[in-house]
Symmetry: D2
Subunit: 307 residues, 4 copies
Amino acid sequence: MKKGVLRPGHVQVRVLDLDEAVKHYTEVLGLIETDRDDQGRVYLKAWTEVDKYSLVLRQSDAPGLDYVGYKCLDEAAVERLQQELTEFGCHVEEIPPGELKGCGRRVRFDSPTGHLFELYASKEQTGRWGVGNHNPEAWPRGLRGMKAQRFDHCLLYGPDIAGTIQLFEKVLGFDLAEQVVDNQGNRLAGFLTCGMKAHDVAFIECPEKGKLHHISFLLESWDEVLRAADLISMTDTSIDIGPTRHGITHGKTIYFFDPSGNRNEVFAGGDYFYPDHGPITWDAEQLGKAIFYHDRVLNDAFLSVLT
Amino acid sequence: MKKGVLRPGHVQVRVLDLDEAVKHYTEVLGLIETDRDDQGRVYLKAWTEVDKYSLVLRQSDAPGLDYVGYKCLDEAAVERLQQELTEFGCHVEEIPPGELKGCGRRVRFDSPTGHLFELYASKEQTGRWGVGNHNPEAWPRGLRGMKAQRFDHCLLYGPDIAGTIQLFEKVLGFDLAEQVVDNQGNRLAGFLTCGMKAHDVAFIECPEKGKLHHISFLLESWDEVLRAADLISMTDTSIDIGPTRHGITHGKTIYFFDPSGNRNEVFAGGDYFYPDHGPITWDAEQLGKAIFYHDRVLNDAFLSVLT
Amino acid sequence: MKKGVLRPGHVQVRVLDLDEAVKHYTEVLGLIETDRDDQGRVYLKAWTEVDKYSLVLRQSDAPGLDYVGYKCLDEAAVERLQQELTEFGCHVEEIPPGELKGCGRRVRFDSPTGHLFELYASKEQTGRWGVGNHNPEAWPRGLRGMKAQRFDHCLLYGPDIAGTIQLFEKVLGFDLAEQVVDNQGNRLAGFLTCGMKAHDVAFIECPEKGKLHHISFLLESWDEVLRAADLISMTDTSIDIGPTRHGITHGKTIYFFDPSGNRNEVFAGGDYFYPDHGPITWDAEQLGKAIFYHDRVLNDAFLSVLT
Amino acid sequence: MKKGVLRPGHVQVRVLDLDEAVKHYTEVLGLIETDRDDQGRVYLKAWTEVDKYSLVLRQSDAPGLDYVGYKCLDEAAVERLQQELTEFGCHVEEIPPGELKGCGRRVRFDSPTGHLFELYASKEQTGRWGVGNHNPEAWPRGLRGMKAQRFDHCLLYGPDIAGTIQLFEKVLGFDLAEQVVDNQGNRLAGFLTCGMKAHDVAFIECPEKGKLHHISFLLESWDEVLRAADLISMTDTSIDIGPTRHGITHGKTIYFFDPSGNRNEVFAGGDYFYPDHGPITWDAEQLGKAIFYHDRVLNDAFLSVLT
């Protein structure tokens, strides 16, 4: 929050078949559909989120990430950051209010890793789903599937993560919470936060630009990670790995795929961060343990990211 | 973090018998003793804390709270806030560096509720106990008792919480995350945060000044709340209430007493907060449920707070 | 299983309002209604049970227990036990097949504590609800409320538990797994098992005959005990005590009431038993801890049982 | 318990280095060393076990299983079964009392799969470790590592499991709780129980005789399976697979290896069984899901078992 960026606010993801995707994100992950727009996009939220939506699905002929948006404290913060992004050398574009329903003006910019990000300060708030903010119950009845609690972060990969990390630290006021460094001092991965979470975005170095590793949603507990794993099996959802723990962040996790091949994570727990903590460093030789704490080796799917 | 206040950094508590208290906080709560000073005070930390200590025990002939200290981003923030506190009308006092071992200059001030608080920007960092910040394991072996993870917050009570909440909001940049309001619109309780936690400090209105309800430490999970309850029974520790859940914050909790009669809480989970969320409001008629979500009535110990 | 008694198979309970009771046992506890009969009785089962029902609700003008039935290995076992019960001095009555729908011949008998019990060997099997016995999933989707897994046991109170325990041990082949004994050697409570469970029935000495303390259902885990507690609060169900742990059996538990005032327990975990283990003994001075391990005192509701 | 066999009572395992093995089973699994004998064998128990030991380690030049022993209700049962085993065609051998310290006469026999089993009725009882049977606390302080609760079962493989299952059913009174059957009706695996547990022994068909897949120990909960996985990583213990769930039994599990290469399992939960339940059947085409419920494929280590 040093520069007014509050949190990951939304992510727009491309899917091959919208109906299948909506079914997956609502019935398996337990997100709630809150709107659609005249472009055919579907808006979804997780139940603890105050804003109207955090996931936007867009039908396309190739899966992947369109952009990640960060909510800012106020319009003044967005304006200041727009200026600084331009000075940093980003390609900066303004998206008019209403292009996403209920969302105000967005400032879109690119990163050296080849991803698109956005900043915005206003979005319609529909309140915590089923509980609101007046004598709220512990949780709403009627949740489905994994009962995902919030959109939490993305792990992205591309070239020049050094430049992108500099952008997030210097311009956006993020802190580097964890990193993987090889014995020549090269940073292979960086996990950045704008609040107390172990990460609000993470980057892994790879030659190809603009790649999405996964979008991640928070669960309540390790017990809920088991329920998620059970649901993955019951629904014949494609699993990547887990249940397991990450070394980095120490979150308890499972990876799987939506019907279009976009990787999802649901996780619980994980470390907290304050700006005076300094980054945690993992040696590249320990990368297996850093990523998958129990197996201590990367699986084939993860190895393919690095090449 | 709006005004540079990061987190609750330490609490100094009076105990009747220092040895008994150290035994309680190390063997029952699982804190780690890190130092003692020539005043005889004992310094303890929880294992995930990067700073050297968060709890200071001082032998006295009456239990209770000496002060709560908040760590700030830097000295500049402390200086700005010192000025603003004075302007707000607080009695402000400077404590020289080293009065607490390893801690820099502290700015102490009082609140309308009759409590003493402190701001400081520097304290010796000894790192996460047993794991550090280089290829850190998930948790250290050798933890004892409840394995408390961090000092989390205090619940304080006294008169004029309206004035104190104004002080924390306007001067210190805290946000009101939750409140209890009666049907005349009087605020009976306020829970405030300077980060993403459900509360970094909380106040309940009562006629007597400067009272401590409890000091609270974070646990990993609801399973660990059960282990804590088991340990309370095994060690013949005086229990207040729990395991249960709070309505306010929805944390899973248990209350008990140190050998001097200071109330402790250990808890897990709970809601998260962002500055654009607005406060959650509980009606005073729902106070029982707000405090103890399952029983939905206040126990005798809690009722005595309110009178 | 020494004498062929397998398990608690059903319990018939009187309720004041059948619709309210069905709503409670299905929506709050998560039992499944499987049938009704021309007497107006409602049959319910828990999802892991292979038999068609384990709870029978009968509308009446007073709540309480009609009888508890135990399923036996075969008709030969029932016949042998019928003979032995008569020889022991019980009043023995035969209930014809079909009096409970889908249930074979039942042998009903009374105990010195003034309760009615039954033995039977055949009941229609509908299989594990929603999963069956062919490639069964981990759990069925569509469960409601607390997702109770099985009817587990009853705690009963009345006079002459010594005689009743002798009946269960000598005639029915149960073992005494745990007991509470005062310093004159009087047994105040006995917990008996016919398998590996910590108890299949339990008795507490009290002057009044034929009383029901609670009927108990198994949950998956301590996390599910929390969910149960949350549901009790959300549904304004009357709570007795919990979440907590018992000393006796060490199960994790919560007590609450159905709309007619019959006490329910849901619990998870607990010790296991083998016939060569010998009973665990609790001193009467430790009765508080034996019953409610964390509070270490009996609450008013429990104290009233003893007088 | 139909024929008087109570439970798996001990397993003797060969290890290459006794000191390393003792360190593994005590510090990683959390077993307690209770004795050694003049053959140099080491005796260990898990804390909830009433008997003095359940695991016997014997130094050898090849890892593997010596034998599994089952505790019986009394000597009469052992004698009856000895006769029946001989009639069934087993090679039956009597081991004199005291060959294992504190253990009475054992009747050893072989199975068509090429394993050695034993029956015995008496072994020294040292009581539940650290808690005993008088006002027992919920768990003992001072447990180490995974805090394994009991030796639970073995999974064995070899030829002619049909014959071995017949032996366990017909002679020893076990029930078949679960099975894997191919579309020609051949049974590829059988899980058998002598009580309420999902399995007390399990067999998988394979050409080689007398093989040990794993010895298994019970944990308290899924949270403890995570702790076990963390400890496996922290202690650089070789992992096979997990944390995950089995389809068969639905237990939550992790597989790893002792320093000699013997596979260990620790697991929590799982289905319960009664003799009137009939077996659960898994289709061979679903074998992946039956064994590893989340991944739904066999890993290389498991595939090698089948060939």
